[in-house]
């Protein structure tokens, strides 16, 4: 019977498998922003450095070490080179996450969406997990995915000796780093999102956190000549801690990677605490 001839009918289960709630939330969070064309352009722009690096790697492997002078460590196909590439993606990570993540919880709070979500059979972990997965997806789209693509590309054009590291070691390091850093960053962004109801304010706070702490760290270091002050640099801590994973000698001046790891853990714990307190189906107004 066609739909337009029916009244209300009871649902007959079809026997198909339902997706878990966190996956449904993440899928929607990913698909909705991708409908905007300009976001596609931004993602494409975020891949330009990877294409450039790929070109340099190609030229280097074909033309020899002459090109080392051109790109320095950035063109290296050692793990260090890929860490530097990830550091270079910082700007795109910052912008893309601000656009796709700022409104994830703020909009739900503004439109009383929490009440809808938590009238369904899902819990706090599903909700936060789904939203965080959305942010992690966009994070990995401009970090992990280009690294893996570059590794495969470099492997295909390089002599066999470096193959194992390129095909396994570096992608694995990048995977671990991107998942951990992406999850932590996404939780911090979501915590900001849960504090407001307007995406624009969340973006302002996010900008202050990322660029503000970077600037404050740099200025204070320049004025006080103390490297340890860089511990306030938000995104810098992730790259500093990653130097352990990528066995890189490049570190933030005066800040141990272990301290950075502790700072990152503290940020993540704080974000989780905020999310736990802020995400409720009911607004309690004192």
């Amino acid at each position: 019977m066609p739909v337009y001839e029916r009244g209300y009918t009871h649902w007959q289960p079809s026997g198909r498998r339902a997706r878990p709630a966190w996956l449904v939330i993440a899928r929607r969070g990913i698909v909705e922003p991708l409908r905007r064309r300009w976001l596609f352009l931004l993602i494409l722009a975020a891949w330009v450095p990877a294409i450039f690096k790929g070109g340099i790697i190609y030229a280097k492997l074909k033309a020899g070490n002459i090109l080392d002078l051109m790109g320095g460590g950035w063109t290296s196909i050692e793990p260090e080179g890929f860490l530097r590439f990830l550091e270079g993606q910082r700007f795109f990570v910052f912008v893309l996450l601000a656009i796709t993540g700022a409104g994830l919880i703020a909009t739900d709070r503004r439109e009383n969406g929490m009440s809808l979500y938590f009238s369904r059979p899902l819990g706090l972990v599903d909700y936060i997990g789904g939203k965080a997965l959305t942010v992690v997806f966009f994070y990995c789209l401009v970090t992990l995915l280009p690294v893996c693509a570059l590794c495969v590309f470099a492997y295909l054009i390089s002599p066999g000796a470096v193959g194992a590291e390129l095909l396994l070691g570096t992608p694995l390091r990048a995977l671990v780093y991107c998942l951990l850093a992406g999850t932590s960053t996404s939780l911090v962004l979501l915590a900001f999102s849960s504090l407001g109801t307007r995406s624009i304010f969340v973006m302002v706070w996010w900008t202050l956190l990322v660029t503000g702490t970077d600037a404050v760290g740099g200025i204070a270091e320049g004025l006080l000549h103390k490297g340890g002050i860089q511990v306030v640099n938000f995104l810098g801590q992730y790259h500093n801690a990653a130097s352990l994973l990528f066995a890189s000698p490049r570190r933030l001046a005066g800040v141990s990677p272990w301290v950075s790891l502790a700072v990152v853990t503290a940020w993540t714990a704080l974000a989780l605490w905020v999310l736990r307190r802020r995400i409720r189906p009911v607004e309690v107004v004192s």
């Binding site: 209300y8 649902w11 079809s14 997706r19 449904v24 009440s115 809808l116 059979p121 009911v282």
Partner: protein, 311 residues
């Protein structure tokens, strides 16, 4: 629900609320701030329960609220329309979150949107919907997973009279013909009279009364309009012997009769006002008073509600 007590920030909102409901159309009435929405949120397991015990569809809401919610539909009063989605997208999304497979959710979304009268508007962005369409959309998302109970918080809020009637018709159809349990929280008594067969009255967080919607017509205290000529003083004295109270309303004499004093008026479902009519006729005949008019004054649900709340 037994002895439920709930407080926001130490401010008690529900105090010892105690009831059990069978499927049907239940009206939840009460003045603003009486705890209606909070009671619904307790039934949904959206707030941590204080003292007391809440069980919905056989699930303990303190520990198994998620399982119970699969069988519950919720239509909030405020907001509840996520921007950036089409009507059908939102309803299907909510269906998937309720545990429906993706394809089933989309199919159900089309069905329920057609049922609530939004078939032609389903692909439009729900941000652009009118208030009436948003209310229907919220009803559709509450129905998409075919719940056993629907909790509706002020479903006709902000609707024009025509929109209100059509939403009430849908709710009535769901409750009376489709076998869904409905709890309708509202302060519009006419909505309750149109849809529900039972009401719960809350005041300041306490369950003040529970009765059938037409229960006030079977209550012990009945008011009669009397007009006649003859020996009025003797007639009034006779009625006073029956324990009546009097009030003059222009030419009419309003006689309030307490039927609980008359064993012959007592019935299983309440009190039968015809016994009161017979008693008044007998007094009039005995006291030589010719009645020109004798009629039971209908008590509206609104009058009864205000009497209860203000008592």
């Amino acid at each position: 629900m037994s002895s439920l007590t709930f407080a926001y920030l130490a401010e008690p909102v529900l105090k010892g609320v105690d009831f059990a409901l069978q499927k049907g159309a239940i009206g939840l009435l009460g003045p603003n701030g009486s705890g209606k929405t909070t009671l619904l949120r307790c039934l949904l397991g959206q707030v941590p329960l204080g003292r007391g015990h809440v069980e919905v569809l056989g699930w303990d809401m303190a520990t198994r609220a998620r399982a119970a919610r699969a069988g519950l539909g919720w239509m909030p009063e405020r907001g509840g329309v996520i921007p950036g989605m089409s009507g059908v997208g939102l309803v299907a999304y909510m269906g998937e979150l309720s545990g429906l497979p993706s394809r089933d959710a989309m199919q159900r979304a089309h069905e329920v949107l057609h049922y609530v009268g939004l078939a032609d508007e389903r692909y439009r962005s729900c941000q652009d919907y009118s208030q009436g369409m948003k209310q229907r959309l919220k009803l559709a998302q509450a129905l998409v997973h075919d719940p056993e109970w629907l909790f509706l918080d002020e479903p006709t809020s902000g609707l024009d009279p025509r929109g209100r009637v059509s939403v009430l018709e849908l709710i009535r159809d769901l409750a009376w013909n489709k076998g869904l349990g409905v709890i309708l929280s509202t302060h519009l008594l006419a909505d309750v009279e149109a849809v529900c067969h039972e009401i719960l009255v809350l005041r300041a967080g306490e369950l003040l009364a529970r009765q059938a919607v037409d229960g006030h017509t079977r209550q012990a205290r009945q008011v009669f309009e009397v007009e006649g000529f003859g020996n009025e003083e003797s007639f009034i004295a006779g009625l006073r012997d029956l324990g009546c109270e009097f009030e003059q309303d222009g030419r009419l004499l309003l006689v309030t009769l307490d039927l609980s004093r008359m064993p012959e008026a007592r019935r299983e479902t309440g009190f039968d006002a015809t016994a009161g009519v017979t008693a008044i006729l007998e007094v009039a005949a005995a006291r030589d008073y010719a009645l020109r008019r004798l009629r039971r004054r209908p008590v509206s649900l609104a009058e009864e509600f205000y009497r209860m709340v203000e008592a």
